[in-house]
Amino acid sequence: MAERLYRAVPADALRIVPLDDFTLIFHRPSGLSHLVTAPAPEILELLEQGPLTRAALLARLGERFELADASVEALDARLGELVATGLVEAA
């Protein structure tokens, strides 16, 4: 089975406002706002550059950040949340 590709919704569908420890993301198509904390904005930022598999995303995060708790399960949980909000699409 081919690995799923995760892609962020187009950047122009979002209005992203950093608020200290939080980031407020307004999703224009749904009219929903989401208050997110790390690592959600970082994941979104990477996926905005192009679709990635879970493994590739974890590798990119590892290149950019010091991942103290890199685990596929945790990344799955975060991706699941982003997919549920409609900010990320899984294909």
Binding site: S33, A40, R64, E66, E73, A74, E81
Partner: protein, 135 residues
């Protein structure tokens, strides 16, 4: 101006990269809190709001066929509704439906009363919100 950018995490300095620490978090934790649009909350409150007939300040009075409030026992007028009507019921009635537990004439009188609600009477805010266009 001092150069504060050298303290920024993730910046390359002198050939070394200082990477910012990032926690992916626990499986059961959540990094996302979603806020429903104000309109959705308005719709929820419309369905849950109530309109007493007549309003609490004149509880016990009767409602005449033209929707006016008349003294209890007035011939031809209708006794007050035993329970306040739900916003959703009123919405249906305003669209031509019937309020629960009413006869045809009683419903007509109650709907006329509700249409005549003024700011300051209980149920007015609920009635006003029912008039608001939905997105």
């Amino acid at each position: 101006m001092t150069d504060q950018s050298s303290d920024q995490p993730g910046e390359e300095r002198g050939g070394t990269t200082r990477r910012r620490a990032l926690m992916l978090g626990a499986v059961g934790a959540s990094a996302v809190v979603s806020i429903r649009p104000a309109l959705a909350q308005t719709q929820a409150s419309v369905i849950n709001c109530e309109i007493p007939v007549p309003d609490a300040g004149r509880a016990g009075s009767y409602i005449a066929a033209d929707g006016s409030i008349v003294p209890a026992g007035t011939p031809g007028a209708f006794p007050p509704a035993s329970l306040a009507f739900k916003g959703e019921d009123v919405k249906t009635a305003l669209a031509g439906g019937q309020l629960p537990g009413t006869t045809y004439e009683q419903n007509q009188a109650y709907v006329k009363y509700i249409r005549r609600l003024q700011s300051g009477t209980s149920g007015f805010t609920c009635f006003a919100s029912l008039q608001m266009p939905r997105g």
